[in-house]
Symmetry: C2
Subunit: 141 residues, 2 copies
Amino acid sequence: MADGSTLPEQNREPALTIAQVAERTGLSPDTLRYYERAGLIDRVGRTTGNQRRYAAADLAWLEFLLRLRETGMSITDMQHFARLRADGAATVPDRLAMLRAHRSSLAERIRSLRRNATALDAKIDHYEQLLTEQPETDTPA
Amino acid sequence: MADGSTLPEQNREPALTIAQVAERTGLSPDTLRYYERAGLIDRVGRTTGNQRRYAAADLAWLEFLLRLRETGMSITDMQHFARLRADGAATVPDRLAMLRAHRSSLAERIRSLRRNATALDAKIDHYEQLLTEQPETDTPA
DNA sequence: GCTTGACTTGGAGCACACTCCAAGTTCTAC
DNA sequence: GTAGAACTTGGAGTGTGCTCCAAGTCAAGC
């Protein structure tokens, strides 16, 4: 086969190598393999030579996982979600419940960060005053 | 001495035990000792029998550290800040610079979380539609 | 067809931030 | 003054999420 990608059958999809997916997602190839081993992503397609080739759907799922990760979901919870997804449409209510719970904990997280940001601003103001009012004076912090 | 706390000299300050500080801060006694060993907090006062007694100022500093931690500052960076603080008023500009940098990365963090929250909302809407439009139908997720 | 670089696997190792442990000491209440 | 809880230390162990490694296989260009 002089055909660039040697997938067993069908599809003219992108079929990216692991290095290409790594570059697009910011994950390392090792992390991508780790996610697959951990069951976060289904076993992706392979070439006849057993090398991974990622389809567009794999990319989309990875991007969703990254969103969950960036918003603080643990690998364990993502594994749970992935398992539900693999179990098909019947688990939609469970998945919805998980997402709603995660969404609300994210809202709380954001509120907490904003409170802390305000307190940090006050601390910064304090330091700025130390600096402008009495530069080079040995007052305790 | 029938005097509850047996600090070497002076002060009628609160002087809390490690267990009391643990309860107030939510940190474990082990974590408090770890923070002290790590140089995040100055060596706190001891009784004649070598047990820790925390003063109000120790509490205030701990609360500030917790704010830094909750907003994602690493132990290493907090060690750096603590060292600057121990070095006195001359390091105020450095400390201010650290706080400003941290404040701005926090702002970016919050923006990113809000973007992700919006994307999650869209995903949740999608799942809700799956549920209301075609309940009990085997459509792929 | 051969080289060079990318890929494969299972498993070991790592950084971070704690958390636990053992053996001994101190504190508090009675 | 004594029992029992709380404390002390140094050091080992843990969970999470990767990250690296060795030894071998595959892919792409010349």
